[in-house]
Every structure is written in structure tokens, then in C-alpha cells.
Symmetry: C2
Subunit: 198 residues, 2 copies
């Protein structure tokens, strides 16, 4: 196992960005530059999508824009606000629910937001940044305070920035921050040929 995989115990060597990626709660105060943000969005933009619909939209705010930042922060569940308030960038991903061409429902919209967000997060890793995705937020509030129109759905929120010192976290979160990442074994996930009861 090479150095690249020091953050996880991968069974076989994998891409170093995928191995390094994690979802921290401790973020430093160092800002994310506009150029870095543009690079994140550019990486997301080149994801694949069903019918090349590109159903992904992004709403973001940096700490420099305090009012907008606090608006996004207010959408997060309280347990996430506790630590996400330190991240220099907050973001919401939004899915266009129907195909632009024929207005049929796009059943793969959320899947494709996942593809684009994975690109964004791996690009963040390459820039020395980290991104923590969160399902713990109020989609209803986000829709209201951010003015998201019908035909679009809030999907996930992200906190993005440079990694901080675990010591800055409350005791309980500090323990989680330092715990190793865990995943199911491949045997549970992969079926050869047909579905097997596992």
C-alpha cells in the first residue's frame, strides 16, 4: 500500500484523491479564492449526465458576503451549524427535476448531481481543500430563503475549505473527527452475474 492511501485502509491501491477525500468538521479560517471556486465548478460541469441534461445548479456564499453566508448557514440543521459555521464556503446543490427538451421527469437528476458533486469534491481535494456534504438541512427553508423556483429541488449542502485543527471542535465531534473512516467490505456490495443473497 503506497503513501497515497495513508488516510484509509484500501484493499487495493486506488486513486490518491479518492483515498485522501474525507468529510472533516474542523475547517481553518483560510479563505477559498474565487479562482479555486471556479475550478471546483469547472470540474463539476464536465460530469456525465443522462441525455447530457446537466441538471446541476449550485448556490454558494463565502464568508466575505456575510449576509448570503448566514442565509445558507441558517438552512443547516443545528448540529451541522455548530461546526460548519467555520468553513469559508457554504454551498447548496440543486437539481432541475425535468428534462429541458420535453419536460419529462428526469429520474436520474439526483444521481447526476451526485456525479457532478463527486467531481467537485475530488477537485477540491486536488487543490488541498476539503468538502463535507450534508443531508442535514431544511430543503423547505432553503427553497424559501434562497428563492429556488418550482422545477428545481435542493439536494445537498456542502461546507468547503482548508482542514482545521480537531482541537477547535466540541469534545464529542473531536472524537468523530479522529476516528478512522469505515466502509462495508466489497463482498457485501458486488454481485457477479446476478443478485446473490448476502
Amino acid at each position: 500500500m503506497g503513501d497515497q492511501n495513508k488516510h484509509i485502509i484500501a484493499e487495493v491501491a486506488i486513486n490518491s484523491l479518492i483515498a485522501q477525500r474525507k468529510s472533516p468538521r474542523a475547517f481553518s479560517a483560510e479563505p477559498v479564492t474565487q479562482e479555486e471556486l471556479q475550478t471546483l465548478f469547472e470540474a463539476a460541469r464536465w460530469a456525465a449526465s443522462a441525455m447530457n441534461e446537466q441538471p446541476w445548479r449550485f448556490i454558494y456564499a463565502t464568508k466575505e458576503n456575510e449576509e448570503a453566508y448566514n442565509r445558507l448557514l441558517s438552512c443547516l440543521a443545528e448540529p451541522n451549524q455548530v461546526w460548519a459555521k467555520d468553513a469559508p464556503v457554504l454551498m447548496l446543490t440543486v437539481a432541475k427535476t425535468n428534462y429541458s427538451g420535453n419536460n419529462a421527469p428526469n429520474s436520474h437528476a439526483w444521481h447526476d448531481i451526485g456525479l457532478a458533486t463527486a467531481n467537485l469534491v475530488l477537485q477540491a481535494t486536488e487543490l488541498g481543500l476539503h468538502a463535507h456534504m450534508m443531508g442535514g438541512y431544511s430543503a423547505t427553508k432553503a427553497r424559501e430563503v434562497l428563492g429556488i423556483p418550482a422545477g428545481y429541488e435542493p439536494v445537498t449542502m456542502l461546507a468547503i475549505g482548508h482542514i482545521g485543527d480537531p482541537e477547535q471542535l466540541p469534545e464529542q465531534l473531536k472524537a468523530r473527527e479522529l476516528a478512522p473512516r469505515t466502509r462495508k467490505p466489497l463482498e457485501e456490495l458486488v454481485h457477479e452475474g446476478v443478485w446473490q443473497e448476502k
Copy 2:
């Protein structure tokens, strides 16, 4: 713009795997090894997911297992079968619809399959492989012939292998194979602070 981005016209330099990734229709006969397959699944396994649920499952077949391969091939829409039949690996991603802990519906399951599949596809790119994701298949037939139980949903199919010669494709597909990849401009996708009418 560096050499790494020769496959696309990215507005700023992005990760070379993200830039190189594309969805070919022409695949060569060269097999994908079991070790390569394991590396793809390992990369997928380390994706993030809501509550670390890891709702992703994968069913795959290689050409060596002709019966299983043809079973997966038969699930594809005919226009996809035309070219996907040459890929040495076919795969279906499957989502666990509810959280294992409390059986509540997992609204992020498809999103998280997207995160894992993006990892798999970028890992394929790193190994010199390509993966073409497809929504054009029969989920009903897949459920039936692959024996997918209640509580799980087919999400996308993939054709995976080494890139082939566009000349092996029917005329109409050859033109699509050689066309440049296109994406919406960032201005359409990114909203600073709040949603803006665009």
C-alpha cells in the same frame, strides 16, 4: 491550457482524469482484468454517503461469463445494445432504498450512487479504461432477470472497457463519437448568494 485538457475545452485547468473522462461507444476487445475490476469497486466503496449508509450495490458480468453477460445486455435499450455488446464488462448499479438502521426512506440513495459511480468512472480513467453510463435500459427487466429484491432499485447501467476504433461503429454513431463534448457555461449553473433568474 495544458495537455491534460486536450479532450475538452475547460475554461480553467481541472483534474486530468475529470478532463479525460468521456463516454465512448467504441470499445476494443481487450478484456478488463479481475484486478482492474476490484480497483474500480474499491474506488466506489470509498465514496461519501448520507449517514455513511453506502446504499450502492453493483451487478456485473464480463464476456468470459457469456450467459451472465447476455443477461445484462438484454436489459439495455436496443440502440445501446448496438455498441455496448462490444464492451468487455457490463454493469448495473443498484440503490438500497431505505436506511438499514431505521428503515426510513433514503432520499439521497440515488445521489449517493452517483457519488460512488463517479469514483468508479474516474478510477477507470486512471487505469486507461473508459466507462459509458446509460439510463437507456429496462429497470423492470433488470429486476426480473437479475433477481433484484424489494428494497433495491436499479439505477444506471455501464459499459466498461478499453476505447476502440470509431470506425467499428455504424455511420451515425461514428459521427457522435467524434463530436466534441459540450457543456453549459458556468454562468447558467452557478448562483452566488441566492437564486438568480437566468
